[in-house]
């Protein structure tokens, strides 16, 4: 409850920046994940059983880091223009992500 009260005490400009940072995280973290997957993807699926490390954990951790970095970058941007198109960008990311995850698992 105190968390929401503290949020309300922030000025509108700062709240808008944090909100845009959240959207940047939502868009960039999955893209970073997919890029890593496609770059380090093995052509032999059966080789996955013999990999000693767990690539999924690393992909997730690195993608969260990239998403966080994008959020920090978005926080520093003052423009509000880009957030209006972010919804459509999210739909594009979701569609492209789903297709690539399906075609190149």
């Amino acid at each position: 409850m105190r968390f929401f009260e503290r949020l309300s005490s922030l000025d509108d400009e700062r709240r808008a920046r944090i909100a845009r940072a959240g959207i940047a995280f939502a868009l960039i973290a999955p893209v970073a994940y997919l890029v890593q997957h496609l770059v380090f993807r093995s052509n032999d699926p059966r080789a996955m059983a013999h990999v000693l490390t767990t690539p999924f954990y690393w992909r997730v951790a690195a993608s969260l880091w990239w998403g966080g970095l994008a959020a920090v970058a978005a926080y520093t941007v003052r423009s509000e223009r880009w957030s209006r198109r972010a919804g459509l960008a999210a739909l594009g990311v979701a569609l492209g992500y789903a297709v690539l995850a399906w075609v190149l698992p």
Partner: protein, 149 residues
């Protein structure tokens, strides 16, 4: 141990179903971009929390799954094993979308209608991808899970 893992896997699936229902609600609630009430904020927070817990429970059993199930699945049912890979990728997208959209929706100032509408679209996309993830996960688990088959 495998019985315990099967129970945990089933719980992961039930949580996923709950998370999808939870993700549809914010998409509807935020579609007009109106400011959230205190109850709305709590509802969004719980939806996102369930999604994160679902993903975390998947991460928790992933090590055992990779050790006990994946090798035989790859050997006997390659196409199904690839569907599991797709599910794994989609799950990360769902949790990223949910967390990012939650931040945007809860923190956005009262005047930021566009930000809340954007969050609604992201929640909707997360719900759709979550539904695909759940369907794939259920199918893969039906073919092979921690139990003896």
């Amino acid at each position: 141990v495998t019985d315990l893992l099967r129970v945990f896997q089933a719980m992961h699936g039930y949580l996923a179903a709950l998370a999808i229902v939870g993700l549809i609600h914010p998409a509807i609630l935020l579609r007009r971009g109106l400011p959230l009430s205190r109850g709305g904020r709590w509802a969004l927070s719980l939806s996102t929390l369930v999604t994160v817990i679902t993903f975390a429970s998947g991460i928790a059993i992933y090590g055992s799954y990779r050790e006990l199930v994946k090798p035989s699945l790859l050997a006997s049912e390659l196409a199904v094993a690839m569907l599991f890979e797709t599910k794994e990728h989609l799950a990360f997208c769902v949790v990223s979308f949910a967390v990012g959209a939650w931040v945007a929706a809860v923190v956005a100032p009262r005047s930021a209608v566009d930000l809340r509408k954007t969050a609604a679209l992201i929640f909707a996309a997360a719900a759709v991808l979550g539904l695909v993830t759940l369907a794939l996960g259920t199918y893969v688990a039906a073919v092979k899970d921690f139990g003896p088959k």
